[in-house]
Structures are given as C-alpha cells and as structure tokens.
C-alpha cells in the first residue's frame, strides 16, 4: 500500500497554504510533519483525511480497493479527542470500535481488542470512569486508543503528543512503531521529536516552493 501525493495545492481563504507538494508514504513508513506555527501541518493532515478539498493536485491510496471510499482506510486523531464526557472510557471505545469497524458483532475477539488497547495505553484502570472525569493527558490517551480498536492502515495524527507526559509519549512512539512495522502508514504533525528511530521528516514552510526535505528526525530542528 502506498499513499501518493502529487502536486498538491491547498488554499485557506484566498491563500495557498500548501503549494505544489509531492511526496509518497510507503507501507511501513512514518512521516513527521514539522514546521513553524501556521506552516500548514493541520491543513495538510486534514486534506489527507479528506475534510478539505485541494485546489489542485491528487492524493491516491495505491493498493486500496478502488470501490471503497479511501476514507475508510484512515484513522484521524486531531486536536480533539472525540470522547463523550458522560460515557465511560470503555463505552466510548466500544462505540468507536463498532462504528469504525463497521460491525455490531460484540464478540469476544472484539472485546479483547478493546481491553488490549486500554492496557496498551495504560488507561485500563480507568475503564469504568466517565470520560469527563479524566485529566487532559488521560483523555488524550483515550483518543489515541481508537487507533488500536479498529484496524485501519493509514494513521493521520495531528499533534498526538499534546498533554502527554514523557512516559506516555514514549508509549505512543512504541504504538506507532508497531503499526509501521506491521505495514501501516503514519503521517503525524508534531513539534516534538517522537523519539522514533526511522521516521522521515517533512518540513513545511512559509517559503514558497520549499521542496520536501527528507531527513531522518533526530532532535528538534
């Protein structure tokens, strides 16, 4: 599977935020979008997820059943966590599993998967607490747990580490690595180095025609 971005132009109002951008995300690759505030990271992620329509250019997901909507291949985790304050952590996650998985089958395997996700993100003890009571970081981890309950190849993450403490950030890095190792595609906007060994970096800049610079991410630029 491969995500091909060709000559992408995205505008906000009358302004071109993304101008003639081309890059490929191959299976197993993690791309980090970096750049200053307002550089267009969120804009790019939301375009990839299909919320924004580009002015021109193309985004193609090679290797995906052409009859199915490519959105069904994507997970999107944005600034907001998509949790309901009055549902428990478990109920929130179960709902997204059923909805994004497209199945109402509440079998043992599905339930195991939810518990595994909770465990993986270390919010298992909070399972029966209404999500409204969680702290900022706990809520963020609940939002991220969605990635693990419904299997989808493309992960689009917008500043996933916001509110996460150091341990949780490391946790997230491992989750991303596992997904990539299993052939998944990850595009993440972030101001922090995630501490990933093999991530590639795409620096978005306000300067026009700044070609996609590729380098492996070390510390902060």
């Amino acid at each position: 599977m491969q995500l091909e971005i060709r000559d992408l132009v995205v505008a906000r109002g009358a302004r071109r935020i993304i101008d003639q951008l081309s890059f490929d995300v191959a299976a197993g690759e993690v791309w980090l979008l970096t750049g200053r505030n307002g550089a267009g990271k969120t804009t790019l992620i939301r375009t990839l997820a299909g919320y924004l329509s580009p002015v021109s250019g193309s985004i193609t997901l090679k290797g995906w059943d052409p009859e199915r909507d490519p959105r069904e291949a994507c997970h999107y985790v944005g600034h907001l966590n998509a949790d309901k304050a009055s549902l428990t952590v478990l109920e929130n996650l179960r709902f997204w599993q059923a909805y994004l998985g497209g199945t109402t089958a509440d079998d043992a395997a599905a339930r195991d998967r939810v518990w595994a996700a909770l465990e993986r993100l270390e919010i298992e003890p909070l399972a029966d607490i209404p999500a409204g009571y969680l702290s900022a970081g706990q809520k963020r981890r609940l939002g991220l747990a969605r990635l693990l309950v419904a299997e989808r190849p493309v992960w689009l993450l917008d500043e996933p580490t916001v509110s996460l403490d150091v341990q949780s950030t490391a946790l997230l890095a491992r989750v991303i690595e596992t997904h990539a190792a299993a052939g998944g595609l990850v595009v993440a906007a972030t101001h922090l180095a995630l501490g990933l060994a093999s991530a590639r970096e795409l620096r978005l800049g306000p300067t026009p025609h700044a070609a996609a610079e590729e380098r492996t991410s070390g510390g902060p630029a």
């Binding site: 939301r46 997820a49 299909g50 919320y51 924004l52 329509s53 959105r71 069904e72 994507c74 997970h75 999107y76 944005g78 600034h79 907001l80 966590n81 998509a82 949790d83 309901k84 304050a85 009055s86 549902l87 109920e91 709902f95 997204w96 059923a98 909805y99 994004l100 497209g102 199945t103 109402t104 939002g143 969605r146």
Partner: protein
Amino acid sequence: MSGFLTLLKRDLLLALREGGALGTALGFYLIVVTLMPLGLGPDLNLLTRIAPGILWVALLLAALLSLPRLFEADHDDGSLDVLALGHMPLELVAASKALAHWISTGIPLALMAPILGILLNLEARAYPLVIATMLAGTPAISFLGAIGAALTLKTRRGGLLLALLVLPFYVPTLIFGITSISAALLSPAGFQASFLILTAISLVSLVLGPVAAAAALRQHMQ
C-alpha cells in the same frame, strides 16, 4: 446499516444518560403553555378555542430549542470528524441523529400534549386528534430542523439563528397540523385530506433534511 444503528443507539444512550435533556424540553413545553393563559387572561371559552393552536406552537418552540445540540456536541468534541470516516455517507449520519432526536424529543413531546391540554381546557374529542397530528408532524420538525442545526453549527447565537432559519420551513407543518384538527372537529372527511398532506410533508423532509444537513456539515469540516 450497522453504523446507522450503532450511532442511533449511542445517541439514544447519551440522551438518556445526559439526563434532563428530555426533561427540560418537556419543562419548556409546560412553561410556554402556562405562560399563555397568563398573557391572554383566564377566559376559558377563549382558551378552549385556541388550545390546539397554542399546543402546536409551543411544541414547535420546545422542539426547536432542543435542536442546536443536534450536531454541536459531536462537532465540539471532534466526534463529527471521526464519524465522517465511517462506512456510511454523511447523509446517513445526519439521518441517524435526526431520528434519535425525533425518538428522544419529538415523540415524548407529542405524547405530553394531551396532559397540557387540560391546562388549556381542550375539548375532549380533540385529544386523539392532537396526538395523531403531532406524531405525524414531528418527524418534519426533527429532520428539517437538522438542516438548521447543521447550518448554524459554527455561528455564535446558534439558537436564535436556527429558529429564524427553520421556522419558515415549519410553517406548512404547523398549518396542516392545525387544519387537520379543526377540519376533523367539523367532519371526519375533511380530516383525511389535511392529514395526508401533513404526513407527506414529513416524508419529504426525511429525505430533504439529511441531504441538506450533510451538505452543510461537509462545509464545516473544511
């Protein structure tokens, strides 16, 4: 279809859990109906005469006021973005949420109307008519209201603007709801014609509402 039901179930659960949702709509209904005699004076004959009208107008307002939250909660917490990535088009997402609104608000309001009828000295034979027309008419309120709810999602003063936008669409429902009742009080034959139109309006809104609402929602995600 499984996504539709999953979402419907969640929304009904939320309506139940976030207690008072229905309670406040019913409370508002009660209060508007109570305010009317206060404003109009206590003449019982007058009240009997205008009771069906007041019940209908108050129901419209109560349902209307519960509409701003239809998509707002899902928009504000980011759920709407994720819902758009499901296995069904946004039109069905909108339809599912409008249906949840009808079940959790429209039906209970319609069923409560007769009780409030007592306060307004409603004629005995008008009771079943009021319930029947309201059950037939409230789907239009939820589904057409979804358009307004989607359009006003990001506006300040959502509630008022929503009222302004959707009330014109409610006028036919209101008129045929009332004429059904008054026609039936004269002759059973007159009832049928108006009632059929009322039902037809609701059926049309089942399609028009979700399609327009989804178009508006898409713009908001941009």
